[in-house]
Symmetry: C2
Subunit: 189 residues, 2 copies
Amino acid sequence: MKPFLHYILQFGHLNQQQIDLITSKAIEQELPKDAYFSEAGKVAKQVGFVVEGVMRVCYYNNKGEEITKYFIEENNLVVDLESFDTGICSSAYVQAVTDCKLIIFNKKEWQELLDTIVGWETIVHKVISKALIQKVERRSPLVTEDATERYLKFLEIYPNAVNRIPLAYIASYLGITQSSLSRIRKNIT
Amino acid sequence: MKPFLHYILQFGHLNQQQIDLITSKAIEQELPKDAYFSEAGKVAKQVGFVVEGVMRVCYYNNKGEEITKYFIEENNLVVDLESFDTGICSSAYVQAVTDCKLIIFNKKEWQELLDTIVGWETIVHKVISKALIQKVERRSPLVTEDATERYLKFLEIYPNAVNRIPLAYIASYLGITQSSLSRIRKNIT
DNA sequence: GATGCTTTTTGCCAAATGGCAAATGATTTC
DNA sequence: GAAATCATTTGCCATTTGGCAAAAAGCATC
């Protein structure tokens, strides 16, 4: 629980009693490589926090190509917010890229915490906003750069994950073929 | 104020007294074409709502090219959240693409409303989350599509704005040159 | 309706990237 | 440690897109 609490407490203060309550609702979970945290077509019912490992959020576009929307490294939340908040089916799935250790909260308990702990909503709001802004800021610039620049930006964003992510996944994140990415890598070094 | 209240009330209930308080803090503002709502290098101190017109959020990348991150049509919030929330300088600027009518709140009054109106924080949270998720969902797919697909997606997203946005701005949103976009347009019709 | 200004289209060629298939390299399994 | 499987690199050529400059079209002003 320590990494999760450390993460959360950056965004606001909680007393020991509140921390204990949150801890009591948390579930530790291990997810082996390639396993799914959530699936497309289902409603997201859990909020997760990555303690160890790398995950990715993906979908299939209308040409049937698998697209990686983003990766999630250690010390980040993993949740399909749109589905979790609204109850509509998710269009994306979340998969473990490496063996992962997670802390998860089921929706019911998550909601209880929101209703019970004064100030928790504000903290959650800040956490979520920051995470979403980060996603926009990271993905958006890729649209307007060439393939090499995209890869360099990827390296900036995920320096600790590069060696744990297969090239094909990185290519599907950058919107290029893995052949191209392989050539780009060669040219850079 | 009507469009703004209509927009807000989709996300939660407010009584008349609360609505009046919000209204009392709102400022109506007209912004002529090409004028700036907020500028890069300054701290965002206002939340806006577009009643009429189209705006765009831009920045210069490291090659000096002007990039349009997204457009904002009628009935949407316009705010540089990262700067507004954290007080750090904005890296983007917001410009009117057409003559615009806005409703704006200064940060001080906005904060007063958050502190005063029970339930307002929850509503704002929902509004912001939804807007941010929408930005991710709209921009992200562009990375992995070719130029024609990108333009088609743009048309889906901004069907009412196409004819009000210069081709060069659309191209800078899609990450292609305006020559290419011109050719794409020709091929489609 | 002529003039100047801005926006959009077009032509030409170069550069970047994709598609496909084969070759190489790495890793797991028995 | 050989075989099978999976991941990455490479070659070849087609297609897409960019860069640049000129032409055309649209629009406002006088």
